[in-house]
């Protein structure tokens, strides 16, 4: 359609749907990264934040290594920092299973059942 030298053209951007890619399962093939068929989808709900601790003294903090290159060494140094600076904090260094993109519900369940008080996840990117 052309009127007065003006054109009407389609907006090429798609319509957002409010559906997000979600986590990959721990068993997912590493090649499933960004594969939309490998990612369950669903309507997103706002996340609830967990209650905060009054202090870290005497608490158990899980240090979860994400799998990015260098993150294992980084988290080891983080553990060393707690030993030097906050020795009353018990730290548990764990690898997340699979790749940096996968979920690890077994580890989350273990943390919950073993009484983890807090977690530090690192390091992304």
């Amino acid at each position: 359609m052309e009127q007065n030298g003006k054109l009407t053209v389609l907006d090429p951007h798609g319509q957002p749907t409010g559906i997000f890619g979600r986590r990959l399962e721990a068993q997912s093939n590493p090649r499933a990264i960004l594969d939309p068929f490998e990612q369950p989808s669903g309507e997103l709900k706002p996340m609830s934040m967990a209650p905060r601790l009054a202090a870290l003294n005497g608490k158990t903090v899980y240090l979860v290594e994400t799998g990015f290159a260098g993150s294992f060494e980084f988290m080891q140094e983080l553990q060393n920092w707690f030993s030097r600076n906050m020795p009353t904090v018990k730290t548990v260094l764990r690898h997340k299973r699979g790749t940096m993109f996968t979920d690890d519900p077994e580890l989350w369940a273990e943390m919950k059942s073993s009484g983890a008080d807090a977690a530090i996840l690192g390091v992304g990117g």
Binding site: Q3, H13, L56, K112, A118, G124
Partner: protein, 472 residues
């Protein structure tokens, strides 16, 4: 962790990705308390990592570890107790009418193009493109994202038609472009590692739309190869809402994305099964198959032994290899005694071993595979325990090796890529029942010359032509 497990968490992300993750968290209604150590972490010494931890967050200038402690202990704010999801506004179907010059500027400046000239998707042009399929314009084809950290975008047949127009396609190309859209795979998945893509078309449609499967098939000499491959990236930019540095984080990107190495397999000169038949499709089905990887090593020569040698030393994060071979190479492999592509792949895998020590010296292996080995994931865990001189096959399964046959038999060469096969999609679903919708005079670039009569395409002098004589 916060929501489902109920454990207060301090996520640490390198400062280079601060904007990216904070935007992602806001969009998801997840008010996470990030801390940002400096970038990069990979390859840094213990001393540097220690200084990162003891130092300041470069984004906030606050001591990093104090931020971590605060993240776990500071009481939740009202905003954190009641987070909201920020959704992108819905967009109208049409842009405001304007001049061609202004609209072209809007497309370029909005980041809706690949930087090359586009055809504006006017109502008339889109309607014409829609004649290339029987599917309704408002039928939803799929959703696309370039990273898991963003809202998926839904697109219809009409939206795909707009993309096809922009790419310079004709209605005859539309079924292939719709099949690409139906794959829901972006041509530019966002990764700092800068992915490239490749796509190969099999079946009758290659010839119906005059794709180039022969001489110079991977060069810009064929309209169908060019516009179909380009359309995949234009839909990834628009449907995937790709924005460099915001959600597309490839450190230098990949030049293949301009047309995604789009070609047809040369089934006519291929002595092996066509690729789509290997994947379970009938020979008379038209199919597009997609690949994803990083490296393209041009110009390999020689028998299967040489192919095994090259992939043994071809460092890569992935485990797959896709050889793109001239039909003469396929014939040579057959002459070597391999009855099928799979036979050749099996032999190549078994004969491409490297010492374990050599494998683990690679940066990708020390960074990526070492993490999998530490978690006990096979085969990496076993490989990590081997002595340095123990032989291992980095591409450990014949299914990890693909062979695609293309080219004009001007050189028995092959290209080695570390591209992984991701998916094949049937094109026939999108064909009109009355057949491919060709223009009255189909638009074609010159066909590569194949000499059949000894003239090699050189015009033959006629009796009326003045003879060429030496200068006096």
């Amino acid at each position: 962790m916060e929501d489902e497990v109920g454990i207060p968490t301090a996520p640490l992300v390198t400062a280079r990705f601060a904007d990216f993750v904070e935007r992602n968290a806001r969009a998801r209604g997840a008010p996470l308390r990030f801390g940002f150590p400096p970038y990069p972490v990979m390859g840094m010494s213990r001393d540097v990592l220690r200084r990162y931890i003891e130092g300041a967050d470069p984004i906030t200038s606050k001591p990093l570890m104090q931020e971590v402690i605060d993240a776990l202990t500071a009481p939740l704010t009202e905003r954190e107790k009641h987070p909201t999801i920020v959704r992108k506004p819905r967009r109208p179907r049409w842009l405001a009418p304007d001049t061609e010059e202004n609209l072209y500027r809007e497309f370029v400046e909005s980041g809706w193009t690949d930087g090359l000239p586009i055809v504006l998707p006017t109502e008339k042009r889109v309607a014409e493109m829609l004649t290339g399929t029987d599917h309704a314009p408002d039928e939803i084809v799929g959703q696309m994202i370039i990273t898991t950290h963003q809202e998926k975008m839904e697109y219809t047949v009409e939206k795909v038609a707009a993309i096809a127009v922009m790419a310079g396609a004709r209605p005859e190309h539309f079924p292939v472009i719709l099949a690409l859209a139906a794959s829901q795979e972006p041509s530019m998945p966002s990764s700092t590692t800068s992915w490239g893509r490749m796509m190969v078309v099999n079946g009758p449609i290659r010839n119906e739309i005059s794709m180039n499967c022969g001489t110079a098939a991977l060069s810009p000499f064929n309209l169908a190869n060019s516009v179909i491959g380009r359309a995949w990236t234009l839909m990834s930019i628009n449907f995937g809402d790709a924005r460099a540095g915001e959600n597309f984080m490839a450190t230098f990107g990949h030049n293949s994305n301009y047309n995604n190495m789009c070609f047809g397999e040369n089934e006519e000169l291929n002595v092996f099964e066509p690729f789509h038949v290997q994947k379970g499709f009938r020979p008379d089905e038209s199919v597009v198959s997609l690949f994803r990887g990083w490296n393209v090593l041009n110009f390999g020569l020689g028998p299967a032994k040489e192919m095994a040698h090259v992939i043994a030393t071809f460092g890569s994060m992935g485990t797959s290899i896709t050889f793109v071979v001239d039909p003469l190479v396929a014939k040579n492999l057959r002459a070597e005694g391999f009855k099928t592509k799979q036979d050749a792949c099996k032999w190549i895998v078994e004969n491409s071993k490297v010492p374990a020590g050599h494998y683990w010296e690679g940066q990708m292996q020390s960074g990526f595979a070492a993490g999998l080995a530490r978690q006990g994931i096979e085969p990496f865990a076993s490989w990590a325990k081997l002595p340095k001189d123990a032989p291992i096959a980095p591409r450990h399964s014949p299914e990890d090796i693909n062979i695609l046959v293309v080219g004009g038999e001007t050189n028995p060469m092959w290209i080695t890529t570390d591209f992984t096969y991701t998916r094949s999609v049937s094109i026939d679903k999108w064909r009109p029942k009355c057949g491919i919708r060709r223009d009255a005079q189909p638009l074609r670039m010159p066909v590569p010359v194949t000499c059949k009569d000894g003239t090699c395409g050189i015009p033959v002098a006629t009796p009326t032509t003045e003879p060429v004589t030496a200068a006096n």
